[in-house]
C-alpha cells in the first residue's frame, strides 16, 4: 500500500508513568522502527548523567528540560509512527498532573483512547477518571491495556478480574466499544507480537487492534455544515467562500441557505487548486461559489435548506475549566465556535462532577480542572448541533478577553430550556420581532457591485464609537468633506441627526439605546447597499450592539473606529454642555457618568484625539481606506 492511500488513526494514551505508559509507547515506536539512533543516544547521555543504570525511555517522550529535571510529564506530547497499513499520531497525555486539562486537550482530536492499567493494582480511581473523560468527549473506541502481566505470572484470573471490574464500572459510561488486552510492554507480549506466555488470550495484539479500528464510520456524513472561514475575492470576477466541510457532503447545484441571513441560493461550484470537485465531504478544505450574489462573511454557516442546525443564544454544555483563575459568573468571555466568536456569560453552574465518584455536586464556581454542566448565555445566537450528534459543530472554547488565555472547553448538549430565564430576560435573546412578516426582501434594483463600478470606489461603513465629546463627529465631518471632494459618494449619520427624526420616539434607556443603534445600523446598510461610504458617529457604548451592526455587513466592509479620549478630557471639552447637565442629574443614564462605555476589543482603527491632531486622524483613516482597496481607483491630487 502506498503512503498516499494509507489511513490515519489519532489516539490518546493515558495512565501514569508507573503504569508503564512510556515503556509501552517506547515499545510501539521501537518495534515499528520509529526511534532514531541519535535520539536514543541523546537520552542515553541524559540517563547516564542522572546516574541511572538503564536508559530511561520516558526521557524520549519528555521534551522539556523541566520535565526531565523533575522526572514528570507536564504537557501533552505528540508522537508519530507508521506501519505498512496505517499512520498513527499519538497524543501522549500525562496521567497525574493536571489530568483533566491534559486529558481533554490530548483526547480532543483522538479517534481512539488507550488506557493503561497496572495488572498488580487493578482498576484504580485514576483509570475510572480517564474512562469518564473519554466518555464525555465521546471518543468512540477505548482500549484498556492491562500492563505488567509479566509481574503477575501472566495470570488469566488476574486479567479477567480486571476486565470484569472495568466492565462493571463502564456500564455508567457512554462508550460502546471497549476492548481489553493483556500486555507486557517491558517484555513485548501482545504489544506488537502475540504472546507465547498467554496462549489463553485469543484476541488481537495492541498494534493489530490499532491497525484495524474503523474510524470512517464515526464521521457524520449526513448533516452538511460549512462554517465560512475566509472570503476569497481575488478579483472582481471571483467570489468564493473557503472553509473545511465540518460534516456531511455537498454537490454543485444543491440548494443551500446562508446563516444567519437566511438567504437561499445554490452551490455553483466546489473550487480547489487541483480542479473543481463533483462532491465535497467532511474533512475537505475547499472553496464554495454560490449561484447568486449573497453577502457571506467569516463566521457564517452554509447549510442545506432542508437540514438546518439548531440556532440558540442560550446553551447547556459540559464545560471543562482549564485556567488558574476560576470561572467568574459575572464576567463576559469570548466563545469560539466553528469560525464564529461571540460574547458569553456562564449564567449558572448546574452541577460539578466529581470525576472520581461520578457524583454531581452543587458548585459556586469552577476551579482549574473542574468539569460539569453549565448554562451559557451568548450575545448572539450560534448555529450548532449537539456534540453527541455532530462533534465538529457542538464544541467550543472560552477565552478570557483580559488575559487572552484559553480558559475552558465545552461540549454542547442542547439549547438551554429554562422557561423562567427566557421570560425574565427576553431583551437579551430575541432578535427584533418581525412585525411585518408579509414583506418580501427584494434584491436592489441596481446592485451594489454595479454602483461601485460607477462610483469608482467600494462601499464601506466607518463606525465611529467613543465617549460624548471624544471627537467622533468632528473627525467624521472632516473626513466626509475630504472624500466628497475626491468624488466619493458619502453619507454621514450621527446620533443627533437620527434622534431628531427617525428615532425621535426613543429615550436613553438601555433598550432604547439598543433600538437606536439597530436603526442606525439598518440605515447605514441601505446607504451601503446603494454604494456609499457611510460615516456613522454614535457613542454606541455597548459592544453587543456594535457587534450586531457589524454582523449586518460583509467581511472587510465594516470598520470600527475607536475615537479614544479620557473621560476627564471629554468633560473638559464638553462641546454641548451635556456633561455639566449630566453631572447636575439632568440627564440620567449618560455614558461615562452613570452608564458604562465598553471599549472595542479589536477596532480596525484607533484615533487618539488627545495625542493626535484632527488632520492626522483623518489622514490615518484615509490611508486605511486606500490600503483596504476602498479608494483603489481614485488618485489623490
Amino acid at each position: 500500500m502506498s503512503t498516499s492511500e494509507k489511513s490515519l488513526l489519532r489516539f490518546v494514551t493515558t495512565g501514569s508513568v508507573d503504569d508503564g505508559k512510556s515503556t509501552l509507547i517506547g515499545r510501539l515506536l521501537f518495534e515499528t522502527k520509529s526511534i532514531y539512533e541519535d535520539q536514543y543516544a541523546a537520552i542515553e547521555k541524559t540517563s547516564k548523567k542522572k546516574g541511572l543504570k538503564d536508559v530511561e525511555l520516558a526521557y524520549l517522550l519528555d521534551g522539556l528540560a523541566a520535565e526531565r529535571e523533575q522526572g514528570i510529564t507536564i504537557d501533552v506530547a505528540y508522537r508519530y509512527f507508521e506501519t505498512a497499513k496505517r499512520k498513527f499520531i499519538i497524543a501522549d497525555s500525562p496521567g497525574h498532573v493536571q489530568y483533566t486539562k491534559n486529558m481533554v486537550t490530548g483526547a480532543s482530536k483522538a479517534d481512539c483512547a488507550v488506557i493503561l492499567i497496572d495488572a498488580r493494582n487493578g482498576v484504580l480511581t485514576q483509570s475510572k477518571r480517564h474512562g469518564f473523560l473519554i466518555s464525555l468527549l465521546q471518543i468512540p473506541h477505548l482500549i484498556v491495556a492491562v500492563n505488567k502481566m509479566d509481574l503477575v505470572d501472566y495470570s488469566r484470573d488476574v486479567f479477567e478480574r480486571i476486565v470484569r471490574d472495568y466492565q462493571e464500572f463502564s456500564q455508567k459510561l457512554d462508550i460502546h466499544n471497549i476492548l481489553c488486552i493483556p500486555v507486557s510492554a517491558l517484555k513485548g507480549d501482545n504489544v506488537v507480537t502475540p504472546s507465547k506466555k498467554m496462549a489463553w488470550y485469543e484476541g488481537p495484539t495492541l498494534l493489530t487492534t490499532l491497525e484495524s479500528i474503523n474510524v470512517t464510520a464515526d464521521r457524520n456524513l449526513v448533516d452538511f455544515r460549512f462554517p465560512v472561514q475566509y472570503v476569497m475575492r481575488p478579483n472582481s470576477d471571483f467570489r468564493g467562500f473557503s472553509g473545511t466541510v465540518a460534516s456531511g457532503t455537498i454537490t454543485p447545484g444543491e440548494e443551500v441557505a446562508v446563516l444567519p441571513s437566511g438567504r437561499t441560493t445554490r452551490v455553483k461550484s466546489i473550487v480547489t487548486y487541483d480542479g473543481d470537485l463533483q462532491e465535497a465531504f467532511a474533512g475537505q478544505a475547499v472553496v464554495l461559489t454560490l449561484a447568486d450574489e449573497v453577502d457571506v462573511s467569516r463566521g457564517d454557516m452554509i447549510v442545506r435548506t432542508k437540514n438546518l442546525p439548531q440556532m440558540a443564544a442560550r446553551l447547556e454544555a459540559i464545560l471543562c475549566w482549564m485556567d488558574d483563575q476560576p470561572l467568574n459568573l459575572a464576567k463576559s468571555y469570548i466563545l469560539k465556535h466553528t469560525t464564529r466568536n461571540v460574547r458569553a456569560y456562564v449564567k449558572k453552574i448546574i452541577y460539578r462532577i466529581d470525576v472520581d465518584t461520578l457524583h454531581r455536586q452543587a458548585a459556586e464556581a469552577f476551579a482549574l480542572n473542574d468539569i460539569g454542566r453549565v448554562d451559557i448565555q451568548l450575545s448572539l445566537p450560534i448555529f450548532f448541533d449537539p456534540y453527541k450528534i455532530n462533534a465538529g459543530c457542538g464544541r467550543f472554547i472560552l477565552i478570557d478577553p483580559d488575559t487572552n488565555r484559553t480558559v475552558g472547553a465545552g461540549m454542547i448538549r442542547d439549547a438551554a430550556r429554562h422557561l423562567e430565564d427566557y421570560v425574565s430576560d427576553p431583551q437579551h435573546i430575541k432578535a427584533p420581532e418581525q412585525k411585518s412578516p408579509h414583506t418580501v426582501w427584494r434584491e436592489l434594483n441596481i446592485g451594489r457591485a454595479e454602483r461601485e463600478r460607477l462610483n469608482a470606489h467600494r462601499a464601506v461603513v466607518l463606525w465611529f464609537t467613543g465617549l460624548s465629546g471624544s471627537g467622533k463627529s468632528t473627525i467624521a465631518m472632516a473626513l466626509e468633506r475630504k472624500l466628497f471632494d475626491l468624488g466619493c459618494r458619502t453619507a454621514l449619520l450621527d446620533g443627533d441627526l437620527l434622534r431628531h427624526g427617525l428615532c425621535s420616539d426613543l429615550k436613553f434607556s438601555a433598550a432604547d439605546r439598543q433600538e437606536n443603534i439597530r436603526r442606525a445600523g439598518e440605515t447605514a446598510k441601505l446607504f451601503f447597499e446603494h454604494g456609499h461610504i457611510v460615516l456613522c458617529a454614535f457613542i454606541s457604548p455597548f459592544r453587543e450592539d456594535r457587534d450586531r451592526v457589524r454582523s449586518l455587513f460583509p467581511d472587510g466592509c465594516f470598520a470600527e473606529v475607536f475615537v479614544k479620549c479620557d473621560i476627564e478630557e471629554c468633560k473638559r471639552r464638553d462641546p454641548n454642555g451635556l456633561y455639566r447637565k449630566a453631572a447636575g442629574g439632568l440627564i440620567p443614564g449618560f455614558t461615562g457618568i452613570d452608564s458604562p462605555y465598553e471599549e472595542p476589543d479589536a477596532p480596525e482603527l484607533i484615533c487618539d484625539t488627545q495625542m493626535f491632531s484632527l488632520n492626522r486622524c483623518v489622514e490615518e483613516i484615509e490611508t486605511h481606506l486606500q490600503e483596504a482597496g476602498i479608494l483603489r481607483r481614485i488618485k489623490t491630487p
Binding site: L64, A77, Y230
Partner: protein, 306 residues
C-alpha cells in the same frame, strides 16, 4: 475520492490549509517564514492551495545568515519568481559584516545573532503579528510539546510551561499588546510525509537534496561540504582536516558551516523515500545546532528561535 475518505496525506494537507486560512482571517499582518528547504517548499504549495484561485495573501520572508548554500539562493530567487510570491530577505547585516561565524563565536552565539536576532528584528521592523513556520513536532522533542498557534511575548520568547491549551480545531489567535504568534501548519507532518507529498505533488526542491560526488571535510564523523568564498569560510579546511571525495547528499539544509552531508546514492525522489524509510538516524543528526546539549533547541526557542 468517491469513498468519502481522505488519505493520510490529504488529511494532513486539509488540516494545514485550514490553519493557514485561520491566520489570514484573524491576523492583520502575517508573514510566512521561508527557509528554502523541503518543508518550506511544501508549505508554499499548501498556501497556494489554501488561497486558490487567489494569490497567497502574505509575503514570504527569508531570514538569511549569508552562510546558505549557493544552490539555495539560486533556487529561492527562481522559485519565488515563478510562483509570483512576494519575497522579503532580511539579514543581520551588522553581525554579518563583523564576521560572525560558528567556528569563531560558537554555534549558539552565531545562531543567536544571525538567526534569532535577525528574525526578531525583522518581525519588529515589518510589524508582523504572526509568523508561519515550517517546524514539525517530529523533528525534535521540545517541538513535540509546542502548540500549532504558539504565543511569543514582546521579546519573541516561548514559555513552554505556560502554553494555552489547544483543543480540536478551535485555535485561539488572540494577542495582547506586544505579543506575536508563531504558527506551525506542518506540526503533524513527519519527514516521510514531506517526501511522500513532494513526490505526490511534484513539488520543486533545491537540487542538493539529491546525491552527487562532493568534496567534503570529515570532522567528528560529520561530512562538511567544501565551499569557496568568504561566506563559506567554515567549509574551508583547517589543519588536520582531510578532504575527501564522497557521493553524498543533504538530508536537511542549514548554513554551510553547520550542515553536514550524509553518504548517500539517492538521486531520485523514490531513492530518497526508500532511504528515509530505512534511516536509523533522525534528520537533524547532521545539524550541529541541535547537538550541543539535550535541551539546546528548547533553550533557543525560549530565546525566540522559531
Amino acid at each position: 475520492m468517491n469513498s468519502l475518505k481522505l488519505s493520510y496525506l490529504r488529511q494532513l494537507e486539509a488540516e494545514s490549509m485550514a490553519i493557514m486560512r485561520e491566520v489570514a482571517a484573524d491576523f492583520k499582518n502575517p508573514v510566512m517564514l521561508y527557509s528554502v528547504g523541503k518543508d518550506s517548499s511544501v508549505m508554499v504549495r499548501i498556501a497556494q492551495k489554501a488561497f486558490h484561485p487567489g494569490r497567497i495573501p502574505f509575503p514570504l520572508m527569508h531570514v538569511d545568515t549569508g552562510y546558505k548554500f549557493p544552490e539555495m539562493y539560486a533556487f529561492r530567487d527562481a522559485f519565488c519568481d515563478k510562483i509570483a510570491a512576494t519575497l522579503i530577505v532580511e539579514r543581520n547585516e551588522e553581525k554579518i559584516a563583523s564576521g560572525c561565524h560558528p567556528l569563531a563565536d560558537g554555534v549558539d552565539k552565531c545562531c543567536a545573532h544571525l538567526k534569532t536576532g535577525a528574525l526578531l528584528s525583522a518581525l519588529r521592523k515589518h510589524g508582523f503579528d504572526a509568523a508561519i513556520g515550517g517546524a514539525r513536532r517530529e523533528e525534535e522533542k521540545s517541538r513535540a510539546k509546542e502548540r500549532v498557534f504558539s504565543l511569543r511575548d514582546a521579546f519573541g520568547q516561548w514559555d513552554p510551561k505556560n502554553q494555552r491549551p489547544e483543543l480540536w480545531d478551535l485555535y485561539n489567535t488572540r494577542l495582547s499588546e506586544g505579543e506575536t504568534m508563531r504558527v506551525f501548519p506542518l506540526s503533524n507532518w513527519t519527514e516521510k510525509d514531506i517526501w511522500e507529498y513532494i513526490r505526490l505533488e511534484e513539488i520543486p526542491i533545491v537540487p542538493i537534496y539529491f546525491a552527487q560526488e562532493r568534496e567534503v571535510i570529515v570532522r567528528d564523523g560529520i561530512l562538511i561540504p567544501l565551499y569557496d568564498g568568504a561566506q563559506a569560510s567554515g567549509g574551508k579546511p583547517a589543519k588536520g582536516d582531510k578532504i575527501r571525495k564522497i557521493v553524498c547528499r543533504f538530508r536537511s539544509l542549514g548554513c554551510i558551516p553547520c550542515t553536514g552531508a550524509i553518504a548517500s546514492t539517492a538521486t531520485t525522489l523514490e531513492d530518497i523515500i526508500a532511504e528515509v524509510r530505512k534511516a536509523t538516524k533522525s534528520e537533524r543528526e547532521n545539524r550541529i545546532i541541535d547537538l550541543t546539549s539535550d535541551s539546546s533547541m528548547e533553550q533557543k526557542k525560549k530565546e525566540g528561535y522559531f
